[in-house]
Amino acid sequence: MRTMAVVCAAAMGLVLVGCKSAGPRPPSESCPGWEQAGSTKALVKKKVQMIGDPEVDVREMRCVMADGLLRIDVDIENDKSRNQPIEYRFDWYEPNGMSAGTEEPWKPVMLYPDEKRTIHTVAPSIQAQDFRLVIKR
């Protein structure tokens, strides 16, 4: 009877583990570098560089490949309850890690107090398969 209870508990545990792994996939899973990062937080750390300590949080990333071009959405949030001007740009890389040869201009953005905003971009060419987002104050 005791053995039966242990087996049942183990089976239940396996089922629960199975349910957990089959849960909703995070949107950032489709972004390049996810396999190495393993979590949205680690991916953001890997993909986003902050210069001048902007008071901005990167909440989520979504990537999709359409017609050979990588399309990216990055959700950012103003950490402060005041207007905050920031600038951002994307750096692009080929799959082998070489720069995709496109230097983007800095884009000025005014974030309103506590505002959540989605930055959207599209890769400049089909060779640009990976990216890094740079945000500066």
Binding site: D67, E104, P105, K107, V122, Q127
Partner: protein, 192 residues
Amino acid sequence: MIRSFGWKTFAAALAVAAALAGCSKEVRYGDAKEVETVTTQFGSTDLQLIAETMTRSLLQSAVIANGNQPIVTVQEVKNKTSEYIDTRAITDSIRAQLSKSGRVRFAVDEADMAQQISELQRQQSEYYNKKQTAEIGRMVGAGYRLEGNIVSIVKENKKVKDVYYKFNLQLWNVENGLMEWSDEKEIRKTES
């Protein structure tokens, strides 16, 4: 020596030297992609932002996204603002970025046509090897043309100057006259 010229002469020379030193300005290279906010007039950041936005949007248009490398010619972007803007610089940037994407080919446009014809005619002279000269009558016509306009609205009072720019670009099918794609970029600059 100083005594022979006098202290006044020496002091005057020092003052001139100091003034000249003050006039010399430091020269340094900067970031060409940096945000420029010297005045509210159309500037490098505006040009770069417009070119990038239009290029990325065009790359997603059905005509270009299908990968058939359409042949495009660039026509005029009309400057409807009250200031001088070299709109050719904007379309040149768009053309350069689209060319780098490898998804579009460009046919010679109206502005460069005279040079193209001149070169073709020059190659027909007796000085060239006939086997290697470009033949007349083999130029390829564009299937699509790019054209657009830029407008601005300027509002000003004693304390604030507000400038709003709107750049609109369209891709037209030359054969059937249909507009295949259009997008616009808005920019607001405020000086106070």
